[in-house]
Symmetry: C2
């Protein structure tokens, strides 16, 4: 029996010491030019936690310290490319200036994230991360 | 760009009022004949939460009430069929007698789950669910 398979991505929610959220500006479609959480596709030889650390490093230059699972996002239609399930982590890092790399055209900590229409369901993910943090 | 995709499954941890864990005996390989948590593959048109409710109903006849995310299990090699990521939920149900169905040859609440070599990494999932419950 074969089953259709989803793509699986990871997304990272990183706050700085002023409670700003780390966002990247997407270089590629979908949502090219829009702000999003750092993240990307999981590779077969890694855990989802390892994928989160790798994507954060590739897109922002930051090294993840601790990861806490925020949630699993799987609502049909959440990604225009097709069936995609995302695993979101609340990630702590050492204090350092992020540097845009890989699929990120820009990267910055933003305090006004709630006023920005983030890509995918990333506004919901940030809100859930804040609840998890007890904020 | 195309990416290799994983299979995605859900697993349900259900405790009864005596803190026993709901286990099914697997009808099919891998681990045929061994005990496991109720669960199975996620379908494209459903969320992972809906998949957990559906699989629990199909395999045990029980209706899920509340779901809490236990964890995401993605260690390479955890499923002999290939790359498979599982999303595990701690599930409450109405008190009712489970009935084996679908891929489950038997179903029962077991107090000795920790002495049983459960399929996949299901012993780890039950331990994590107990921690989440604060047990």
């Amino acid at each position: 029996m074969t089953y259709e398979k989803p793509s699986v991505t990871v997304d990272c929610v990183v706050f700085d010491d002023r409670d700003r959220v780390l966002l990247i500006r997407r270089r590629h479609p979908p949502f090219a030019g829009q702000f999003a959480l750092p993240g990307g596709f999981v590779d077969p030889a890694e855990t989802t936690e390892a994928a989160a650390r790798r994507e954060l490093r590739e897109e922002t230059g930051l090294e993840a310290r601790d990861l806490r699972l925020v949630g699993v996002y799987s609502k049909p239609g959440r990604d225009p490319r097709g069936w995609t399930i995302s695993i979101a982590y609340l990630v702590t890092t050492d204090a350092a200036a992020p540097k845009a790399g890989d699929d990120a055209a820009e990267v910055e900590f933003r305090s006004d994230w709630h006023e920005i229409d983030l890509a995918f369901d990333h506004n919901e993910i940030v809100r859930d991360a804040i609840k998890l943090r007890g904020g």
